[in-house]
Symmetry: C3
Amino acid sequence: GYARFGATYSDNADDWNTASRLRLQFDVSTETDGGIVFGARQRFQTEENLSTGGATDPNNSNGARFYMSTNGFTLAMGNILGVIEAAPNLYLPTASSGMGLEGNGFYSLAANTSSNGGRFAWTAYDSAGAGAVEGVEVLYSMNGFGAHIHSTEYSYGVGANYTFSGYTVAVAYEEWDAAAPGGQVDGDSILFASIGGTIGAFDVALAYASTEFSGVEADKWSLKGGYDFGTGLTVYGFVASEDVVDESYGIGASYDLGGGVSLEGGITQTDEALDDTIVSLGAFFSF
Amino acid sequence: GYARFGATYSDNADDWNTASRLRLQFDVSTETDGGIVFGARQRFQTEENLSTGGATDPNNSNGARFYMSTNGFTLAMGNILGVIEAAPNLYLPTASSGMGLEGNGFYSLAANTSSNGGRFAWTAYDSAGAGAVEGVEVLYSMNGFGAHIHSTEYSYGVGANYTFSGYTVAVAYEEWDAAAPGGQVDGDSILFASIGGTIGAFDVALAYASTEFSGVEADKWSLKGGYDFGTGLTVYGFVASEDVVDESYGIGASYDLGGGVSLEGGITQTDEALDDTIVSLGAFFSF
Amino acid sequence: GYARFGATYSDNADDWNTASRLRLQFDVSTETDGGIVFGARQRFQTEENLSTGGATDPNNSNGARFYMSTNGFTLAMGNILGVIEAAPNLYLPTASSGMGLEGNGFYSLAANTSSNGGRFAWTAYDSAGAGAVEGVEVLYSMNGFGAHIHSTEYSYGVGANYTFSGYTVAVAYEEWDAAAPGGQVDGDSILFASIGGTIGAFDVALAYASTEFSGVEADKWSLKGGYDFGTGLTVYGFVASEDVVDESYGIGASYDLGGGVSLEGGITQTDEALDDTIVSLGAFFSF
């Protein structure tokens, strides 16, 4: 698991607050005589002293993901990953998977469209709640090619990606066929596509998503990049543009202290959901 | 702990559903200079991504059982086992302790009488909740003889068993002396008796229970057996008959894949509580 | 962590009850190349089969405390210790930190003033709940000198202590500047002071607190001492006097069985909140 703590600032709230998360992760697995690995993952996560799930009592376990895996083939059930969530270059390759210590609202994600309410609307491994209902997924990877399909009580998804010469192209699509607890309705959909790779000390990725929720479409582009100075310091940034709202952009840095500890900081300016400047900074350590 | 995942089917619901459970078990213990072992057991259990306790938020720890043990004598407190729950040959010797992956309603248990509502009405170690209120129990085992008494805020129990030449005979009795949260009232009782043993690759057991809840009596017989083919495959089944309702029967199989992993499947037909056919199958692994 | 189980008696309730607690403690930490330790502590605690937090469902994790520490300097966030809670000689040096197995109401704490409702009113690491809101604290220790300051959403605190020739003198002060969820209001305060040390097999401490809650002041003295017979047996006791109510006193004993196991028992007589005699005894073991 990991822990992180520091501070966040929101220009709208005009207030600095402490920020913290502790994630205890239990990965259990065993292997059959025939070489099939069976395993499960469960997290116990606490944020700002409270359950990530939102209760005032910090009871914080999530739903478990169960899997069996052999020869590049994985079958999983329960709190599944989902095809959008698992698509390459959806998230930034940072400690928070977004900007700074906590992600700063994750405006860097192309699939996070604000104008139609499509923020984190896809099926994903839920660190704080039960996750997918009746979730089942199959992943396959071979010779740089990866395929991923999933099914839940409310949606299905399909994804594919291919890695060649250090570049990865990916596409993923999820569509709902029933009204879901997250507010999605029959016919809602997310299409995500990305290309990204590494050129020397640079990593760069371009992502695109087209989302439709309750009949309202929103498209979003996100260009992301980072540079590793080779001294423990990495600097990264993004520019994202959604068709019916203004841009978001951000810049951040990570400094590696060794032993799994790093200092993380980042600032995001967004005109998406509402005009805001968000800062988060602090220490991150894995254990 | 262990994990299991697969699918269940109920003829009444006419629907297949995913089925999963993750049980993280913490067993802690230490030993005094005089050789007395002090310990405790607590479980964190999740089913179908949710708390086994039923909340939508998967917060899943149970009450702890505390014990001290020396020379065949054990004193325990808290979330105690209870005399009926711990009686030999109440449960099947399968991965689910019942039929198939999940138990299929546990109609194989003689003490589970449907006609008077006496299903799982006894004091038991609760994997999903707090368990017994003011529970205390003493167990003693010596030279094949075992004795067990318990006391809770609402009931007391006494049990005994004896093992000779590979056979075990057991009897256990629990009686309530106050209205309990589980719905039991003063005077309710469960009497359980069993005999079981192993003959070569066969194991067989016969169990009987007489239960009285709110003045309504119900008696039930259950005959259970299994055969180990010696190839990793075990086949087992049961027939149970309750005096005022029709029979239940079931057949199941377990196939050992090594590494603590097995495939489990079983089908149960019951006319007890309501006429139903139940199937559960999938993978089980311990870690 | 640790576990303890036994029985308690209250003369007012005129009833014996079982008493138990299981504390699973997760301490995680890592160290940077520069020698700075980053860590976090979280507990999962169950009492009498239930969540310490009070819910009937035993979901029992608390808020986490995060820290970084180097060269005697510690910065912590989240579920912080607090200056009063961490002050030397506030608690007894027993397994329960109070009298007997469970503390018997902790009347031995000078800062626990009953007449003005100031029982456990200070900021403290909460084993059962989220703990401080927006809590940050800094501790520093060097050459026997210790300093401690904290800040929360509702209060700030400052403490200092000095150890010389086996004696420790300490003073700590917490004041509220806003109405807090615990019932404190702007202007409430706790001043705590103590001196304690070891003379051969004796340990002795004198503590004093002056508390003001909602304009009502209460002062309390507590004299505490213990004697280690060197045979595994330790006997200890206290006398405490609050200015507007009568005295409390208690006597207890601990017997070490080795392996981290001890028998603990104690009796407390109090005239503080209400006239009562409290007994708790049982077994304690750490793991």
